[in-house]
């Protein structure tokens, strides 16, 4: 295993090195922090590192291990967490000026579970402001860069978490996915990204973007790694009224490599539409053939409403965002404009100076579609289309176990290329938003490359079927090596 400031090993490698006594958590955390500062610094992957806290937590993890009282498969393992999950006594920024100086009085449910499992957060990862974006460029900390080509985007909005895993800074990381914000950066960075079923993982302490769509999930180098994280972070949380009562899925035993007889649905609309690059289609088709070779069957299915999903998504998401972000008023926390003329001026100026351009665009769009005279035509219409998207999936899943699609229609684009064209950026979310509208679990996994950049296969499953979803992903990875490819080591 590489030491010093080289890339960290995979989760199973690190666990076995800890178990055998070959290394200690303090050494792993030191290596991870060093690499986060050097490689992560060049990539813009982090907003903040927890050096002192992480070192102390690593000491405690080593002491537990010596006493034979390790807490979980993540005990003593360095992880990174998106900067939109709060931790008591520490700063959360959402990559926004408006949260300037915000120190949370409580911890997110996910963070409590990771802490209870002994995982060690080395820091917070950079992202699109308030998770609004598909490129991780809309951040007060500057853009995140793709480890495979620093001139290109890592995807977004959880770009920092994806880049941190791809660059070997941490073996696993946490992100959030409202319209593809875990799966698309996983695809662009050549790692695995899981968005669980809506309600599977607590949203308590996740800074809200669009509450009916937001879900916390995980990045890793393999399906088995994200399964390990899911088992830790999933489960009911009474503080989140949309949290499902189901116990965490038992993934470990489901990952047996056996997909014989499972039916993989291929949506006919996803492979004929214009605007998907031929390299992507070719890699995804090859991945589906690999699943057939492993014993799975394929069947064509139809998702006729999918061409309208992006439009419905951006109406629903921005409407919810305009409501959620009304709380940033310059009074209770965060940035407050100086020398204001009355309360209305305080609100307006604090918000206008505190929010970035993309966030303002989405707040105004959301306010517009909820306003008198437009509600029926836009917001209600979008919610009705959302119903049709759900029905499409219900029908499709009556004939198949999982659905296979590309994760993104094209290769990672260059930084700055889409900055002036929000609509074009939105259209890149064509394959991911439907799972959020329908509340389904989805995973992206590396399935090839073109032009030196990774390509992702997306698998979707019915609600609460994460174990089946990850079984298919794991079976694919047992037969292929795409997930073992690593970006070039920076000079």
């Amino acid at each position: 295993m590489a030491t010093g400031s080289g890339p960290l090993g995979t989760l199973p490698e690190l666990r076995s090195a800890l178990d055998s006594g070959e290394t200690r958590s303090v050494a792993l955390v030191e290596q991870s922090l060093d690499r986060a500062a050097r490689v992560g610094g060049a990539l813009g992957a982090f907003t903040r590192l927890r050096g002192e806290e992480a070192r102390a937590e690593a000491e405690a993890a080593d002491a537990r291990r010596r006493a034979g009282r390790s807490l979980s498969p993540l005990d003593g393992i360095p992880v990174a967490i998106k900067d939109n999950l709060v931790r008591r006594g520490e700063v959360t920024s959402c990559a926004s000026r408006i949260l300037e100086g915000y120190v949370s009085p409580y911890s997110a449910g996910v963070i409590e579970r990771l802490d209870a499992a002994g995982a060690i957060s080395i820091g917070s990862t950079n992202m699109d402001e308030f998770a609004m974006g598909s490129s991780s460029e809309h951040s007060i900390y500057g853009p995140v860069r793709n480890p495979w080509d620093p001139a290109r985007t890592p995807g977004g909005s959880s770009g920092g978490s994806a880049a941190a895993v791809a660059a070997g800074i941490v073996p696993v990381a946490i992100g959030s996915d409202t319209g593809g914000s875990i799966r698309q950066p996983a695809s662009f960075c050549g790692v695995v990204g899981l968005k669980p079923t809506y309600g599977r993982v607590s949203r308590w302490g996740l800074v809200a973007y669009a509450s009916s769509l937001d879900q916390v999930g995980a990045f890793g180098r393999s399906a088995a790694d994200v399964a390990t994280v899911l088992e830790v972070i999933a489960g009911h949380d009474a503080r989140d009224s949309t949290s499902l009562p189901e116990p965490p899925p038992r993934c470990a035993e489901a990952l047996d490599g056996d997909v014989s007889g499972l039916v993989v649905g291929i949506p006919r609309e996803y492979f004929v539409e214009q605007g998907v690059s031929p390299e992507v289609v070719q890699s995804v088709r090859a991945a589906i053939e690999e699943l057939e070779a492993a014993g799975a069957k394929t069947r064509e299915v139809s998702l006729p409403t999918s061409e309208f999903a992006v439009a419905a998504y951006y109406l629903v998401a921005t409407a919810e965002a305009s409501s959620n972000l009304a709380r940033y008023d310059g009074v209770r926390y965060g940035y407050r404009a100086r020398n204001v003329n009355g309360l209305a001026d305080l609100y307006q100026r604090s918000r206008s100076e505190g929010f970035g351009d993309e966030v303002k665009l989405r707040i105004v769009l959301g306010t517009y579609v909820l306003s008198a005279g437009y509600y029926e035509a836009y917001y209600r219409k979008a919610q009705q289309v959302r119903t049709l998207v759900r029905r499409d999936f219900e029908r499709a899943f009556s004939a198949c176990d999982v659905i296979a699609t590309p994760t993104a229609p094209e290769l990672p684009f260059r930084l700055g290329e889409r900055a002036e064209d929000p609509l074009r950026m939105y259209l890149g979310d064509v394959y991911t938003v439907s799972a959020n509208l329908a509340g389904l679990p989805g995973v992206s996994l590396p399935c090839g490359s073109a032009d030196g950049m990774p390509i992702g296969l997306q698998l979707l499953a019915p609600p609460l079927e994460e174990a089946k979803l990850l079984r298919v992903a794991d079976a694919y990875q047992r037969r292929t090596d795409h997930h073992r490819a690593r970006p070039p080591e920076p000079a």
């Binding site: 009085p105 061409e307 926390y333 105004v364 219409k381 929000p422």
Partner: protein, 101 residues
């Protein structure tokens, strides 16, 4: 239902408690126009008698027992306020006719 005028953008911006420069308003009008033109495609979907989905999972509001719990410490509650006085948030005066504080 396509397109949006500069005046409408100004109205909505005020509703959203934002204030924008003329350049920002110009850009927003252009970008919103493009987005609203695109979402126009939804008018092609027949949604007659289709109920709206506002939420995929939560079918009922979960209830809990009405048990007293420790409230958040008032000092901690205002600890993040950019301007606080004791355990109170400080805002500009809102009563008409009085001098600003």
């Amino acid at each position: 239902m396509s397109g949006i005028s500069r005046e409408e953008v100004r109205r909505v911006v005020a509703l959203a408690r934002l204030s924008l420069s003329p350049e920002e308003t110009e850009r927003l009008t252009r970008e919103l126009g493009a987005i609203l033109g695109y979402v126009e495609t939804l008018s092609r979907v027949d949604t007659t008698d289709v109920p709206p989905t506002s939420h995929v999972m939560a079918l009922a509001t979960p209830l809990r027992d009405d048990v007293p719990a420790e409230p958040i410490d008032p000092e901690l509650a205002v600890a993040n306020a950019p301007l606080a006085s004791g355990s109170a948030f400080v805002v500009p005066k809102v009563i008409e006719g009085e001098e600003e504080g």
